[in-house]
């Protein structure tokens, strides 16, 4: 791995930690927000927005931009934070308006009020078919933009996803990348206890997708390497790509990493606020130290 890549990965880890800090504040200020899923998806979303996607905050309607489709709309809060870090709006505005009467940001995103969002979402199972439509449009235009769609593993219980998976695989939308945040928990229970969830890789492959299995979807090195493996730009007739991220719900805040569904959403009060921030920093520093050891002293 080149020195430049290592620096990018270190920087992405810092940015992901910052997004988590912002999310903690957003939850503290508002009293209640989705937490578990946003924290598990944070690293992949950070890598996409800050490095892999063709995204220019000053050209949000650029026809050639990469599209990020947030299918698991209840993770909107972490994307709000990432977009604030990217400079689309001051973080303070988000903190002031989130879930407030006449505020621009709600618990689920609305594309007409929230800068940077391609779709309004919230109801699950809608993102993949929309993303497939955008991928098809890109192919029609012979454009080289990519369409990324973030879905949850619990969300995959919605049948509409499988219509989209079948259709996109059949039509070979090579510019479509589905990212599955497999944090193994859904709203109230474990995914495995709710509906059969094994063999996810084989299922996607059976419908004509190329699957990249990522053992730790909260390890920025692994996320980075997976995103490097997607087809080159402009490959319009090929298997669509599914990146299966094995993640930890609540990742970054140690007491939420208990493998349970209870931190799907909740509040962070005065008693936990500082501890949550310290936990995020501790995890970030531990990862950075691990990288230093792995890559040597450069």
């Amino acid at each position: 791995m080149t020195h430049e890549k290592k620096e990018v990965i270190r920087d992405l880890m810092m940015k992901a930690a910052q997004a988590r800090h912002d999310l903690i504040e957003l939850t503290y200020v508002s009293g209640y927000s989705h937490l578990g899923g946003p924290l598990s998806a944070c690293d992949a979303a950070t890598a996409l927005y800050h490095h892999f996607m063709r995204f220019n905050k000053d050209m949000l309607q650029d026809p050639c931009r990469d599209r990020f489709i947030l299918s698991k709309g209840h993770n909107g809060d972490i994307i709000y934070c990432i977009l604030a870090e990217l400079g689309l709006y001051p973080l303070q505005e988000l903190l002031d308006e989130y879930k407030q009467f006449k505020g621009r940001w709600g618990e689920h995103p609305n594309r007409q009020h929230n800068p940077g969002f391609e779709i309004s979402s919230g109801s699950l199972g809608h993102g993949l078919p929309i993303a497939a439509g955008m991928a098809w449009a890109g192919r029609m235009d012979k454009s080289d933009y990519r369409v990324f769609c973030l879905v949850g593993d619990g969300e995959l219980q919605e049948g509409s996803n499988w219509e989209a998976i079948m259709n996109a695989g059949h039509n070979q939308f090579g510019n479509l990348i589905a990212i599955v945040d497999q944090n193994k928990c859904q709203g109230t229970r474990l995914v495995a206890d709710t509906c059969v969830s094994e063999n996810m890789k084989e299922r996607w492959e059976a419908f004509g997708w190329n699957v990249i299995d990522v053992a730790d979807g909260n390890d920025m090195v692994q996320v980075y390497e997976a995103l490097e493996m997607i087809p080159p730009r402009g490959v319009l007739h090929a298997k669509p790509t599914c990146i299966l991220l094995h993640t930890i719900k609540g990742c970054g805040i140690d007491f939420m990493e208990d493998g349970q569904a209870k931190w799907h959403a909740g509040g962070i009060g005065d008693d936990k606020r500082e501890y949550c921030h310290q936990s995020v920093d501790k995890k970030r520093d531990s990862y950075l130290k691990k990288l230093d050891e792995m890559w040597g002293d450069e």
Partner: protein, 312 residues
């Protein structure tokens, strides 16, 4: 409000809206490179859809029996700026895929033109294939425009108007062959502006979709009894041309107001009754409220009696 002079005739020509719209799309696709067509297992070899696919293979997708996917995917394509037309059986598009149409089409304000065929009981294919709740569902959606063409020629005008329309549209289309209401098709069509098909001074009949023809026939019969009936083609159910209704309700001396429903469930008619007719009626207590009740758009409704019973 546009005006067309309709001459009574029992020998109306016929046409299929379902065939006409795809023929028109095929014609429009030539000059509109951003026109895209999505359908759901409705492109048999040799049909017009098949012709479209062969001419424009990159711009048409028959997704198969996936109404939910079709409705969402169409929204995705529309959000990239293309002109998207998405066809499915009305009952499956507007009930099975209603959340996809609502969230991805209406709530996202994606300018898709959804075309639901088999309106009312025009399919005669059993209760499951009758689009009887579609207007009720669609009318409740934000940003959604609902249009029911009076005949096969009018749906072509609708396709043209839809090209530059910035919001989602639901076009309610009959399945089979229906009488042509307009002998002369050289009239101006505008979404949201009703058309006075025939002038009258005693009573007003308002129809939408293929029931406009029946209004005209009713007016013809009323004329034999010396009653002069105005007929309004309320092709756009939402937004409703309130001006035309209020004008019709207020201008007659004898003050009779007739409501025309397209189905036994309260659809277009209910809106007239609740929001508009009632306003008119309460203003002038002398109004006599006559209900003309129709079940679909065919000339002989009696043959669908069995189906109507099933649906009821």
């Amino acid at each position: 409000m546009a005006m067309v002079t309709w001459e009574f005739s029992a020998d109306a020509a016929e046409g299929s809206s379902r065939e006409a719209f795809i023929g028109k799309l095929y014609e429009l696709a030539k000059d509109h490179e951003d026109l895209v067509f999505i359908c759901t297992d409705s492109s048999p070899d040799g049909g017009m859809q098949d012709k479209f696919r062969k001419a424009y293979p990159d711009r048409m997708l028959d997704v198969g029996i996936m109404e939910q996917h079709a409705a969402s995917m169409a929204a995705g394509v529309a959000l990239t700026g293309k002109n998207v037309f998405c066809q499915a059986f009305g009952p499956f598009l507007a009930t099975r895929a209603v959340e996809q149409v609502y969230i991805d089409g209406a709530y996202n304000d994606s300018p898709v033109t959804y075309i639901g065929t088999h309106s009312g009981v025009t399919a005669a294919a059993g209760a499951t294939h009758a689009a009887i709740m579609d207007i009720a569902y669609m009318r409740a959606m934000p940003n959604m425009t609902i249009i029911a063409p009076a005949d096969a020629d009018q749906i072509c005008k609708i396709m043209e108007a839809a090209l530059s329309y910035p919001h989602p549209i639901y076009v309610r289309c009959a399945r089979g062959v229906e009488p042509l209401v307009y002998k002369d098709t050289d009239y101006v069509y505008e979404i949201g502006k009703s058309i006075t098909v025939h002038e009258g001074t005693d009573i007003t009949l308002i129809g939408t979709g293929s029931t406009v023809y029946h209004c005209v026939r009713a007016a013809e019969m009323l004329a034999e009894d010396g009653i002069s009936a105005r007929v309004i083609d309320m092709h756009t159910v939402k937004p409703l041309d309130e001006t035309a209704i209020l004008k019709a309700a207020s201008m007659y001396c004898r003050n009779r107001f007739t409501r025309h429903r397209t189905g036994w469930l309260t659809c277009h008619g209910s809106r007239c009754r609740i929001n508009h007719s009632s306003r008119c009626l309460t203003k002038k207590s002398r109004f006599s409220n006559i209900i003309v009740r129709y079940f679909g758009g065919t000339q002989d409704c009696s043959k669908y009696h069995n189906q109507i019973s099933q649906c009821s």
